[in-house]
């Protein structure tokens, strides 16, 4: 399929979306990003790359990082993990304390903030230097040793992250955080501050389209069944309170972040990443969602 001209068609078709959303502005380092940025990257299992626009410019991946830490934790704890975090779509905005209270400190799924904090807590049990471990893991997946934390973003998050502190202390009071809250938040704020490009993201997600093995080396990151299951979680929970809508309109496993990035995969085929900083009211990239919808329409690709 001629992916390059499809990317071009998509780029034109999403133009009317620009100017209609809002760039995340809760920290200065994100608010400063130009709303006009737009990049797309496709990486296929055949080893091809297709790029468009700002596809090689790193941006703050934010919640997309939850997929990486979940992968690490799932590889370490195949069963125990699911005693501490659920698998069900949230049904509430992504950082709801309400739900956490009714469910006694067990986050609904690993992609709401509370769930990602529990996942970070799990990694703290296994790695003496968890920040480095996460960074090395992501570099390996993407084949990109130049990936770094954006320390300005990290420090801003740390200074204003009261709600995440509330979530962590609340779960600690309910027994579902085992390490000191400051350490859990430290790892969490680092992972959210990972800066990656569309190209790096697409490459880092490609093993999910390859049943859990890195396409380049064949190294197995997750067992086959685990890889399928992570895809299922991405499909049902990957887009905050808009997961059902995304499944309906796009129908691919994926994950978004408030930096404006979205990555999705087509099993046995490819990974695709889009970046456009303007968000809709659910915190997902407006142009990004539309781009992926157009991609599935134009290619006829779908898991359904």
């Amino acid at each position: 399929m001629d992916y390059q001209s499809i990317l071009e068609d998509i780029a034109h078709a999403v133009q009317p979306e620009f100017g209609k959303g809002r760039v995340a502005d809760y920290i200065p380092a994100l608010a400063r990003v130009s709303p006009a940025k737009f990049g797309m990257a496709i990486e296929t299992l055949h080893g091809e790359s297709f790029l468009w626009g700002d596809a090689e410019e790193p941006f703050s991946i934010q919640s997309i990082s939850k997929v990486f830490t979940l992968t690490m934790a799932f590889a370490l704890e195949r069963e125990g993990l699911w005693q501490r975090v659920g698998l069900e779509p949230s049904g509430n905005p992504f950082n709801s304390l309400v739900q956490l209270e009714y469910e006694k400190g067990i986050p609904r799924n690993p992609f709401i903030n509370a769930g990602a904090l529990v996942v970070a807590d799990v990694l703290l049990n296994h790695y003496p230097g968890p920040n480095t471990a996460v960074l090395e893991f992501v570099r390996k997946l993407a084949g990109a040793p130049e990936i770094r934390f954006d320390l300005e973003v990290m420090r801003s998050e740390q200074e204003t992250g009261y709600r995440n502190a509330a979530l962590a202390y609340f779960m600690k009071s309910l027994g579902n955080i085992h390490n000191p809250v400051e350490k859990v938040l430290g790892l969490y704020f680092h992972q959210c501050a990972l800066a990656m490009s569309c190209r790096q993201l697409a490459r880092a997600f490609l093993f999910f389209a390859n049943h859990g093995a890195l396409p380049a080396t064949g190294e197995r990151i997750l067992a086959l069944s685990q890889s399928k299951r992570l895809n299922a979680i991405m499909l049902t929970c990957g887009f905050y309170d808009e997961a059902g809508e995304f499944a309906f309109r796009v129908g691919l496993p994926g994950k978004s972040g408030v930096g404006g990035g979205i990555v999705a995969i087509i099993p046995n085929e490819l990974a695709i990443a889009v970046w456009s900083p303007e968000l809709n009211e659910h915190g997902n990239s407006r142009a990004g969602i539309l781009a992926l919808e157009l991609f599935t329409t134009m290619t006829g690709m779908s898991i359904f």
Copy 2:
């Protein structure tokens, strides 16, 4: 693939589940069903049928009927429907008034009871004889003119359906039910009382594996994109508060009912139905869920 021996293997493997669940007992007609009933049916796009156990005995399909009425309403109202019912997984038990209150009378999705009542209300706008229309539609899908309503079940539901009456009156007070509540409940209680066998269910769902067209005649029931979208809704919302767990463990679009039936489809391949009346705490058939998990494990089939 040798589906017949796979069914046999599954039948043996699920034996330990029996006696651990509870048959639905909110109405006598359901409580009377033997917990030992167990049937499975596979219908493939190649026209093959594979049956096991009580595969041809009709049982009360209950919430599985919501897929049929949604299909009818979606065919009639491609866009308008989604102004009145959402697409997001529920995040709460299947007939929650709480959620409905917070979301101003718009049910989260068409498979919670409130959503199915809105769908019934839509059908009432289009059909002068809605009970007959639903019955004829299901008979056509299944190619089985002998399908009937179980009137004893229907009357029992009507007599004890106070919670559904509460849901309907509540949505009426919020403007999201347009017909008289009694008529909406009348249709709803009829559809839930449809009696079908595993074989009939598998056949009636086969068009979802065929991109929206009836395999036998080629008649288009839903447009291609609509068919994919209905599959997406089944995957994300088809199993009450256990949809994420089902996607994680099984990974197929499907729908369950408190009569103990489950139907699922594998796109481009087949539809499979299981019946076992003992339910887990989420209202889904215990042996049915396990049977489907084993089926995907044994066949390696998955949409992910």
Copy 3:
């Protein structure tokens, strides 16, 4: 104390409130009432009456009727009643289904709509002709055989009372309504449609200031301890979601209705009723609340 000149002073002081609120408009018969209506009446235990403005014009007492039916039910069932309805302030808008769901069908208190429906259900168990029983009871309290139901109001409520139907069916589904829902609603819509004047209301509430006995005849309506307890419920629950604010600003046991009426009592002294149809955002009469606050400030009367 010169209550007549106090009423006059209050009447002037509340003038700026007019035009700032909204007359209840969910049924035509209420929406038609002139927002300029304003009446006050004081009845003392010494047998004096002080009237101002439209003090003798009947209006729809709406939720104030819940005090009368609760009194009847409390006289009949001293203990059992509190198994079916709670005593705690609501903490939520007055007709919340949310709270009812979390508390398994036991309304938080007898003055939210759900609680009043349970009280009506209790009266149905004791009176073959409950509408007449309520009417006769209120006539006796007020010494006013001319009190009637406003049948136009009653029929309007019945036609639009979907939310109350939802509440009743929901509690029926949870086992806390024992009679047919239509009968419970029938009584409830009648009691809300009682038409009474400020003077009649003040007189009908005077026994709460007299420890449970009718001042005129000495007839005991409630035991001493019951009368105190009903006063406590009025103080903590009598003003929807504004009960704490009312206790803070006014500090008297009382009850309001969306018809714009408020009645309050000062133990051992008097009962005072105010009518002004414009409501604040909590559904309480704007000028009525202010009038009572001024009354306690001017007289120095308070239970605290």
Copy 4:
């Protein structure tokens, strides 16, 4: 009235309550307290004292301290305070995050933990040494310079106070905590660790029965209207989720703490304190509640 023999009668009548409740055990210093402790003290506006049992033994006053800090804050900020904390009974358990989320960081009332944290934040704005200020204030009210913080209790609370940290960080994220969270928690954990006897508590609350002025010196602590209003808040909100029940059964303004203490006042008459560490399911002293109910029954005293 012969208060001494009334205390004696009460002491006998509450015997059956012992052994039925649970001493607070979330920190060791509280869990160690003997469940057999029982003290009562009455202080009247005539200057009389009546004591029973362990009336002069200091215990951890816990949430009763919220009345003292609220009094200080109300004296400092007559209006502004109520922009940051509400006046409505909670309708939910005393430290609910749910309610706080729905009400955007404004605690329902100053006696739930969240509300007391906001009050502590207000005091931090006014006092450079807030711990000392609170201690001096309470010593003055009680005329007891020997009152101290129990530093063991204070340190235990600090170590395990994750839920309060969650509440404070959550309100900080919503803009309703202005000082650093650690400082707010520091003051809060100190105030809860005040150790006082029944006698000291009764004396410290006596000004609420005296319209806001210290009976001994005439010094005005609160304006008359403020004093009445604080009494109203105690009546409607002073007993966690059991405030309505307490108003119904006892009918006096008061406040309880999980240390097993309860203080209540009768306007123009007296203050009464009871201590019994065994709690009911709402966190209120079992024998304490009963003792106060008996007191009002035996004396006929009531504000209603």
